[in-house]
Symmetry: C3
Subunit: 427 residues, 3 copies
């Protein structure tokens, strides 16, 4: 049925196509634009669209007033009228979550039931809810939001993100460079890590694999072989296994299965070890928060756009208006952990170790030092004010909160509580 | 008249050329240098200079003793004898300020009248005054000054900075790589931002614009379309408009005017927003200085080479021998702000946002935290010494200084003063 | 004799080769691997090995069970059976110290007699002792050690580190890209510094020198012209001179000897100036250690794997579990100093100055600030506890330790001691 509808649309589209070509609409646009924007017209004219008479209006429409105000956007639906399979593949990929991993991080909140579709979607629709939002996006000015966040995250609705405007040259999208603009930078240096890995350096000499060789094995489904997505969403075991298998098939073109499996198992271990370092840092900050030692405390600063005056250390963490120690943690979680993971799964020893794991460990040193400083300040200030903190009460409260956050189980809680009381009595 | 003089020089030059060729001077040099420096001779022999008999002595002269001591420099005047138009264009560009934006930052001092030519130049001459100097250059050892600063800033007087020695291959100077060595790094990553932007990644596939396509539209005047120069000099409105128009013409080769204008307007907004973050940080440091809380204070450390024991936060800011909070500010102003601006005007979302704007905001967090620490230390130390600061007097002094620096207007000053006195009386 | 032995081995090897070809061993492997690992087989088939019948078993052996468990490693000895000269050159190079500059930094310890071979080697053998170890390697998890450290440092025993597996294409190892994966990153950005230097940018246009042009002048002896190795080992003067001469010969292909010498002399000066900055920082930390002000002190944290609870600031410095000020020092010593030196000897003004020397100076500012903070905390805490430090005794102890470490000579020690006592008496 869906197929028939699509067929009908395509037929209609071709009808319009032939009609508009007959009416010479192409000429109307080209007369001016050849003079004013020679670059566009040249690229289009040399493209297969240009060669086959797919003229300006077929993609851009004919409302020149709206076009002039840049109010017309050629989105995936326009391209999908002819390129059905590509659109189908794209809609199965994580690229289609582009805007909603930018705008949409609420789907990653810890209290979310990952199997509950209605957390993100209107029932029966693939359209995300308007409540699916990213705190970091909400904190930006409109300009930074558009030229910073959405220039990449709009991949969801724009084929031109990768294919570029007007060119239909497939060679362009078969080059890793086309991925670079978005898949780079301190928060996800996939391009840099690949470029200087043995894979990337051999690629520059015609021998190694490109982004596309490993990640485009199922057409536009760019997330096919990625078992642990960077969003932090945890896939069910069978999905992990399926995705791992897809990746191993790509590795086996050039490596033995034993070698490839072994590399991925080691990479998984390094991922887990690195996450443990981040967890240790996060617990130090939680502890300071419980003791009201963050400076400023969340209630003393502008509210988080989604959580108000709570402490936020999960995927919705902000880098604006936090305390110094939280911004040290932001770097660890968002940059150094990402570099370690991106580095190790792209077989880049320098990104994994020096840019990633070593920075994580140094970050932990800095966070421990700042935590000590904050505690010392508090002690000094408290003493000056003549107040004596009811230390045992504070320690019990901290312990209680750790139980509530499931950092301690019931047994560990009881054990540590007894120990505290015992020490207090002996004093 | 100038034209005639030049013509005369050129004629004389050609006369010398033919004479030296006749006398076989070429052979004299080549006999040894072919054996000792095969690379140079090969590149020269394959160049159009080599093909047309422009031999060694015509550019290098014939004083072998001086040549041997590396005392002969082939500067722009030597090249300009034949390449008059190129030299004319070069002398209109900001490249000709090379040495004097390195050595010459005094021209950017806040007390300077930008329309007063005599601040930088001997009257009637394009030669800069010897008082035009850069504090950061003055702080370097001679070796760092030469291999660090001047290896790039000598572009003013050296065509070889871009064209390289001996090759006359135009393809070389038509490649962005020729710009990379100088237009890179934490303080102005133009090359990196372009390279990983959509423009740069398409260029690597034969489709996108190079540095030259947008910035060489008026020959060697490389600053033609740059409305807001990185020096911080503010052009008059009509110059800004003219330069913007030049850039828009370059954009329009491939983009609609509406789109290009809109992008630049957003970029201008991000530039202003980012400068406001830097200003907030600068005011925090000024305030600490007013309260004598910088550690060390300017009078306790080696003097600034141009301002002595003043606090310097403008373009002449140093990174040596400052307090910790000033060096945090240096990174914001010189690196993060530059990355934001270079990133946004080169359409690179990652440089603008993650490497630039996000770092600025995190830098502000660090500066706020350090300011709080310094104030807390001061309070503790003061209390220990038994002294009680005359707090109201200090606050009034700080307010007065903000008025003097025009951070507050008269009205705001009076309002805040009354408020202070009222609060004090109520205590 | 050695030659005869080698000849014998080669003859035997060729015998095995012809025998195995006759027995169709090639076919046995290829039947499966052509289907399962088409990439490997294709590269091999197109290589000169493939063309000349050097089949799988000759390098990998025929124990399929071990092969399947990835227990067979094709090391330099396997390749050296045929490629004798290359192996000879490799064994003279610093590449052959790969594992033992990773695992083997004990050889750089300050108490080592550099002329005593037995510090590193079993007498009469080139095999390093098992006690030759690197503290940073020992601190890693097995996975980080393997995918991080050894993926590069195994160059000692693996020709494939550069030549890659299966390809015999010489063009690959003549490209700087082949060096990039290991010679990159914050601790030794040789590839990045070269890539954006004038040499590297001209290379991309077919004109400038590659890594190989300057460093492969004596075959595989990649360290031929490097007078000051990054390990910190100090060569005897005559070795320095010989290595410098080798480098100057490479420079002279394109530059005059005077120019090249002058550049290297300036580079040496910048290296010495930069090491002096690091030394100043190191003395600040030593002083804090003497006063027991590091936080935490070495005895309060997990022991150093080679030195236990000592302070370690030399080549064996760790970045794990240190105090904040030591980790600031780690960045200076391991990253910023390296960037300065790698930058200046690769003629890259931005790496030398902005990424290197400027960061060193800013690092020193941060270290001075943290030292002041630690002293202030100590003073405050001491006062609170009612104790009065015997200041004169502490100062005399610190002075004594500086004498013991040869930071002061006898005269300076006595002078400063008298001065201290005089000031104390006058109080």
């Amino acid at each position: 049925m869906l197929f028939h509808m699509r067929f009908l649309y395509s037929a209609l589209f071709l009808l319009i196509l032939s009609a508009s070509t007959v009416h010479g609409a192409e000429g109307e646009c080209l007369d001016c634009h050849r003079a004013n924007n020679e670059g566009i017209v040249k690229v289009w004219a040399e493209s297969s669209h240009g060669n086959e008479g797919i003229d300006c209006q077929l993609c851009h429409g004919s409302d020149h007033e709206k076009l002039d105000k840049a109010e017309v956007f050629v989105d995936t639906k326009v391209c999908g009228q002819c390129h059905e399979d590509a659109l189908d593949q794209h809609e199965k990929s994580r690229h289609v979550m582009g805007l909603h991993s930018g705008w949409g991080c609420t789907r990653n909140q810890p209290d979310r039931d990952q199997t509950d579709c209605s957390f993100c979607h209107i029932k029966g629709s693939s359209i995300p809810l308007s409540t699916v939002q990213c705190a970091r996006f909400l904190e930006q000015t409109p300009e930074v939001g558009e030229l910073g966040c959405n220039r990449c995250h709009q991949v969801e609705r724009s084929c031109a993100s990768c294919h570029t405007n007007h060119s239909t040259e497939l060679a362009i999208v078969q080059e890793p460079d086309v991925c670079a603009t978005c898949h780079m930078g301190p928060d996800h240096p996939q391009w840099e890590a690949w470029r200087t890995s043995k894979h990337g350096t051999l690629y520059s000499q015609g021998l190694g694999p490109s982004c596309q060789d490993c990640h485009f094995v199922q057409g536009h489904d760019v997330s096919a072989g990625i078992a642990y997505p960077s969003s932090g969403i945890v896939y069910p075991d069978e999905v992990v296994q399926k995705k791992r298998e897809t990746m191993l098939e790509a590795c086996q073109k050039c490596h033995s299965r034993t070698f490839a499996e072994d590399e991925l198992v080691k990479a998984d271990a390094i991922r887990a070890q690195s996450k443990a370092i981040v967890k240790e840092a996060s617990e130090i900050i939680q502890d300071l928060y419980d003791r009201k030692l963050l400076d400023p405390m969340p209630e003393e600063r502008p509210g988080h756009p989604l959580r108000g005056n709570q402490l936020v250390l999960d995927q919705q963490i902000l880098y604006e208006d936090t305390s110094h120690i939280e911004r040290l943690f932001f770097k660890m979680k968002k940059y150094d952990l990402a570099k370690t993971i991106v580095g190790v799964y792209h077989q880049n020893p320098d990104y994994m170790h020096w840019y990633g794991n070593a920075e994580l460990k140094m970050g932990l040193t800095d966070i421990r030092a700042e935590a000590k400083r904050l505690k010392m300040f508090s002690k000094m200030t408290t003493k000056e004010q003549g107040a004596k903190p009811a230390e045992i009460e504070e320690e019990l409260m901290v312990l209680k909160k750790r139980l509530e956050r499931s950092e301690l189980d019931k047994d560990a809680y009881e054990r540590q509580k007894s120990e505290l009381l015992r020490r207090y009595t002996e004093q």
